[in-house]
Assembly symmetry: C2
Homo-oligomer: 101 residues x 2
DNA sequence: TTTTCATATCAAAATTATTTGATTTGAGGA
DNA sequence: TCCTCAAATCAAATAATTTTGATATGAAAA
């Protein structure tokens, strides 16, 4: 029926502890991949893998600066994620035309 | 450092398309497991597995009625999920004591 | 242009999640 | 009590995700 793949992708970004730790690092501002690798004590390739998932979800954006990649939180992306979470879980209004009784 | 396991658990509930479809069914009100099995065209055991994940996240609650289990959306659970999403992704206020300049 | 460095990509291995079918549990009815 | 039924649990099979190490890409420096 309904296709939830793009919603699932958003929450997939948030369902992994390492990715939540990355997001936490980005709260204080843009960070280079090399900084995250050290701060998180993670392999270069593994970080790249997680950053791709975060970027694909829209919650994180990347900026290229020469050889460096800088990542930062996307305000718009997180707001959209929160909006979808609410929409997906909000109960439908019942009996909004309950006239009798 | 920080433990994100309980936050990850919340978003894990939302990162699977089948679980999002279950949530969508619950928007119109409480549903029995047997109804969900038919509506979703899923095995009994698989549904039980997904419902456990949804209940553990706090987004769904279950109510026992004789042999039947009824599931419904937890308003409090979804609100908590949305609150955590916002808290986790909200940038830290920068320079809140920027006196000079 | 050759070298160096940061990151992305790839393929294989390791880990984790999901499905499936069988069995168990526990509540109610006969 | 015995039987039936709904749902949970278990174990095995399958599928998806994540990690690891090697290699490729592409930008800047020498």
């Amino acid at each position: 029926m309904t296709d939830y793949s793009s919603d699932a992708k958003i929450f997939k970004a948030l369902c992994d502890e390492k990715r939540l730790a990355v997001i936490n690092h980005l709260k204080s501002g843009e960070k280079c991949a090399c900084v995250l690798i050290q701060a998180m004590n993670i392999g270069q390739s593994a970080l790249s893998y997680h950053m791709k998932i975060l970027c694909d979800s829209g919650i994180v954006t990347s900026r290229q600066d020469g050889k460096w990649t800088h990542y930062s939180l996307s305000q718009a992306g997180s707001e959209y994620a929160a909006k979808r979470l609410i929409e997906l879980t909000m109960p439908e209004p019942k009996n909004y035309l309950k006239c009798s009784e």
